[in-house]
Homo-oligomer: 334 residues x 2
């Protein structure tokens, strides 16, 4: 592999000049720029990005931490991020935290030790304190789907209260009054918020929230299954079930069907996230759209703007959920 040295020799200029044309910043005369470019192509020169990083103290890499690399939620997020960065010649290093505190911490340290210029984090288990502490370090980061007041300007979030509200309101509008709810783990802010929104809508309809119709799930399929089972056996009657995310809705649907319920005739079901496969389940699931791809792009823009001083479209930090109507919720026959 040719080095900058050989290029400079062939072109008959100094190292610095070659470097200048590479980074086309300083003033280089058209003539020498031409000479150098020609020498580069002649030698098939490709700059060594490692050396560039060491000398410039900038690795051009950003670390991306998600809970899982698989799973319907993270794909679109990573996708949005990778696209935005590659356009700018930055690369993304991925790591998975598996919703586990220790592993999330390890992943962050791994990414930092890899000299990432910035981090994009979707973390669940790690504490606010850790993140606040981290923010004092030298590696800047953005948070996706997590709000910490002290770090508010770098939190890219969805208005989950509103999402919860939208879901419940829609179901209420269809005439349902006996509505069960399977929440996420309530120590998670997003799970709380969605429930808050849910209750808000209920209140608007002058319905009180029945604690017996609440089951605390885990945001995973099994939680939905267990939740339905529990509510079906122990709770009061209900004609609609709202789940705090799509996977739980899917689990609940499968179990409901096992219990010989006809869907959606005997039970309306509502999801949350609008994960891509919701179109494919049967009946196609009505849900709340979570614009995770856009939020990923926004996170990328955040670092492009704040870390790499690039011009980007205006940054946005709060995203809006949106109701997606499909066929899993039926009008309740008065």
């Amino acid at each position: 592999m040719a080095t900058i040295y050989e290029v400079s020799k062939l072109a008959g200029v100094s190292l610095a000049t070659v470097s200048r044309v590479m980074n086309n910043n300083a003033n280089v005369s058209d003539a020498t720029r031409e000479k150098v470019t020609r020498a580069m192509t002649e030698l098939g020169y490709r700059p060594n990005s490692i050396a560039q990083s060491l000398a410039s103290n900038c690795s051009n890499s950003v670390g991306l931490l998600v809970s899982e690399l698989h799973g319907p939620f993270y794909g679109p997020m990573m996708s949005g991020i990778e696209t935005a960065f590659r356009k700018q010649g930055k690369h993304v290093i991925i790591a998975a935290g598996h919703s586990n505190e220790e592993r999330e911490q390890q992943a962050i340290e791994f990414l930092i030790s890899r000299n990432c210029d910035a981090l994009i984090l979707h973390v669940e288990a790690i504490s606010d304190d850790y993140l606040i502490e981290l923010s004092k370090g030298k590696t800047p980061f953005v948070l996706i789907n997590r709000y910490i007041a002290e770090l508010s300007s770098r939190c890219i979030i969805l208005d989950n209260v509103k999402g919860g509200y939208l879901a419940a309101k829609y179901v209420l509008e269809q005439g349902h009054t006996d509505i069960a709810y399977i929440s996420g783990p309530l120590w998670k802010k997003d799970a709380q918020d969605r429930l808050t929104g849910h209750k808000q809508a209920l209140a608007e309809y002058n319905l009180s929230f029945n604690e017996q119709l609440l089951y605390q799930g885990d945001f995973m399929e099994d939680g939905g299954a267990a939740g339905f089972q529990y509510l079906h056996n122990n709770g009061p009657q209900f004609t609609a079930l709202i789940c705090a995310n799509d996977e739980m809705a899917t689990g609940a649907m499968a179990t409901a069907r096992e219990c010989k319920l006809k869907l959606p005739e005997q039970l309306s079901i509502m999801g949350y996230d609008n994960v891509f496969f919701t179109r494919h389940v049967y009946p196609p699931l009505s849900t709340i759209n979570y614009p995770i791809n856009e939020m990923g792009r926004m996170a990328a823009d955040w670092v492009l703007s704040n870390v790499y001083q690039k011009n980007t479209p205006p940054l946005q930090t709060l995203f809006e959920p949106e109701l997606i109507i499909r066929q899993s919720v039926l009008t309740h026959p008065q």
Copy 2:
């Protein structure tokens, strides 16, 4: 950030010695190792991986190129790979090729310019020739789901002929004789192979393959939808439809249902890949398992073994498909 220099000063030894304890290779006495380690923790020293890379000419990074970062197929693959590498302190740089020749090439060049020690490629559009040429370069790579005779030892593949055979055989065993087939793009080797296996099974049952019952799809949902539409309108009758992958099966199911067919009663459907959401569609889709997660891990092991000289479990290059029976295929009433 403390550097190796400060550590050496604090510990009262030379740079080289510190480097030695870091890479714990050479002979260092326990006493000095101890001294150095203490100095390191005292200073909170973390080696600068960029500098290490430059000096050692090894970036400890491997490039991973997939068609899409989202999509049900790639998630488990990336997951297997990331896990394997992080355990060994290697990091993975991801890029998406979008099944497009130019973008795949760009991505490969990007990854190489990033000084990846090795590449793991899941490419579709790029030519064999390009890859053969690439193999002469200095960056080693493995191919997933692609077989090139000249590069056979670095091709990690599934026996797609067998998979196609398995799917057809199962449907035949259920008594179906009029079987439609939606293939992938037939210029792709895997699409061809699956079809070959399909025909093989048919032949075993003394059934001739009816070209009118074949539709060439695109491995995407829309292709499945269009395929069903076409076959339904133009082809002879059929009681079963085999699709060359799950997304097309999903598309076909949706369209079949729009045409008022009852599934699976009026049409049995078979998929391929066993992508995770096949459990969730209705009726749950019978399919062929593609052990993509394991294959990803194997690709990682390949580079760990061949590039980083690590000990790994024995390498395997050919994986076996497996029949997954769910509820989308019904016994054909004689």
